[in-house]
Symmetry: C2
Subunit: 158 residues, 2 copies
């Protein structure tokens, strides 16, 4: 089973960065609709979306928020991190097939508590910022390596 | 096909509220892991989670963010809303089987642009706040009723 390791508080450096990329698929958008309940046709109906200002289906904005949360949880600080807060500014739509890259940068470390603020910038394959914000996290104080469970394969039926 | 209607800017009132509830299932957590890539064992592995401070598996924090986004998109202001920003403070874990209720309250309307700020409070079935924050949205200026596409049924295979 593959493993991931965290970056414990004493090793986390101001200015340290981590990148996490994901290509957004049609299935991702459908799964997001299923789990959230947001079935708006701008996300799901190509004909409807063609007549909106976007010209085609767009991903739910918070799907990119989900990718930011994965970057934090899987990479930096990684396993054992407790998510305290997140700000998000949605700047541009994400479309099916776009590859979004989350860049996390350690902006602040709390003087006395194992807490940190991470700047979060998400760009698309054209280098345009689609989402930006900040995360507040409680950082693990001890090194930890965990086994990553295998994800199920998903099939969708209409 | 079922339809949903929006609350256009001129009908949106300061203090107006909308509630949206969802019970978080094991499948939701697995789907969130698949679409985000966050496969941390605290969300997916019952044995691992039993030995954490939570004592059992917890939902990804941003899954509750996804439910907030659905409340905004499906109910108030509803279809045609453009999501500009969201703040989230994660207060308590959400566990499998918890029913989370998002309460949206119109906090501010922009004086000249069709923009609004919504207070977002998410409670669990025990009345405890699990997430709170604010959403900034561009509110549709015209009434709109849209057909809601049928969501696919999902099956998971290991």
């Amino acid at each position: 089973m593959p493993t991931i390791s965290n970056v414990p508080f004493d090793q986390l450096q101001i200015g340290q960065t981590s990148e996490y990329a994901k290509t957004v698929t049609e299935q991702d958008i459908q799964l997001f609709a299923v789990l959230s309940g947001d079935a708006n046709p701008v996300h799901l109906d190509p004909d409807f979306a063609a007549n909106t200002q976007f010209g085609e289906r767009i991903a739910h904005g918070m799907l990119t928020g989900a990718v930011i949360s994965a970057a934090i949880a899987m990479q930096m600080p990684g396993p054992g991190t407790i998510y305290l807060g997140q700000t998000l500014a949605f700047k541009r739509p994400v479309k099916i097939g776009d590859t979004v890259t989350v860049t996390l940068t350690v902006a602040e470390k709390h003087a006395t508590k194992p807490r940190a603020t991470l700047d979060c910038v998400v760009t698309n394959q054209n280098g345009q910022v689609v989402v930006e914000g900040q995360a507040n996290v409680m950082v693990p104080t001890e090194s930890q390596t965990v086994e990553v469970p295998t994800l199920p394969s998903v099939s969708l039926q209409r």
